[in-house]
């Protein structure tokens, strides 16, 4: 089997992950999460954004035992810890933001206290600027 070497030294891009689907009903949410973890392995900048039903992915208190599916929301807790480590360590050049759209929250009667991780609540217009400034958008 061929071995690949990735020349990632000095390559730094900003990825936006646009989560728009509720968890468990479809595979979208889990697939986006997989790509978030890959970008972490390569120390890339990331905007992890939750819009529409995507906001339900990080709601606190998920219990999937009775539907026989893996509850993947704890992984976002780990992502939050990684983010905090990167924020505090000057040697890690990686800026991560966890963002929720205010309009989507309001439409669903949720507040930032409903989430299991700390989030920035931003308006659609503010998110439009952040997305526009990113190098790559991965959505689901």
């Amino acid at each position: 089997m061929a071995e690949f070497e990735f020349e990632t030294e000095g390559v730094k891009k900003t990825f936006t992950f646009m989560n728009r689907k509720a968890p468990y009903g479809t595979i979208y949410a889990l697939e986006v999460l997989e790509t978030v973890l890959i970008s972490a392995a390569f120390e890339q900048h990331a905007n992890i954004i939750f819009v529409d039903d995507g906001v339900y992915q990080i709601k606190a208190g998920q219990d999937t035992t009775a539907i026989n599916m893996k509850n993947f929301s704890p992984t976002y807790g780990i992502i939050e810890m990684e983010k905090e480590d990167a924020d505090e360590d000057d040697d890690i050049d990686m800026v991560w933001r966890i963002i929720v759209e205010k309009e989507s929250l309001d439409a669903r009667g949720l507040t930032e206290d409903d989430f299991k991780v700390s989030v920035e609540v931003l308006s659609a217009a503010e998110i439009a600027d952040i997305v526009d400034a990113s190098d790559c958008v991965i959505s689901g």
């Binding site: 979208y28 659609a124 997305v131 958008v137």
Partner: protein, 100 residues
């Protein structure tokens, strides 16, 4: 930035969210079931009509044709492109954002 929408506005909110989060001046290309948003005289037509001031709107011809629509069925001002036109738009607008 080039936005693509591939869901019907009658079935999903993909177009609504695209229009809410797309920065003024970015281009929007309607593909697959997304082409339904470009048809004039529907209960959803006002969305694209209202967005044309802020965005250049394109619709993919082969997906229209597959659904028995022609360029005549499309809202005035929406440009019909073929697959080569799709490639040109992707090349011209850089980052792509797919609203699924």
């Amino acid at each position: 930035m080039l936005h693509t929408v591939n869901k019907s506005p009658f079935e999903r909110n993909s177009l609504d969210t695209c229009l809410r989060l797309a920065k003024k001046g970015s281009a929007i290309l309607l593909i697959e079931d997304g082409v339904i948003a470009a048809i004039k005289g529907t209960a959803q037509s006002a969305k694209i009509e209202g967005a044309m001031g802020d965005h250049a709107i394109y619709v993919l011809g082969p997906d229209l044709k597959a659904r028995a629509f022609s360029a005549d069925s499309v809202i005035d001002g929406v440009k019909v492109v073929d697959y080569a036109g799709f490639v040109d738009l992707a090349e011209e607008h850089g980052t792509h954002n797919a609203w699924l």
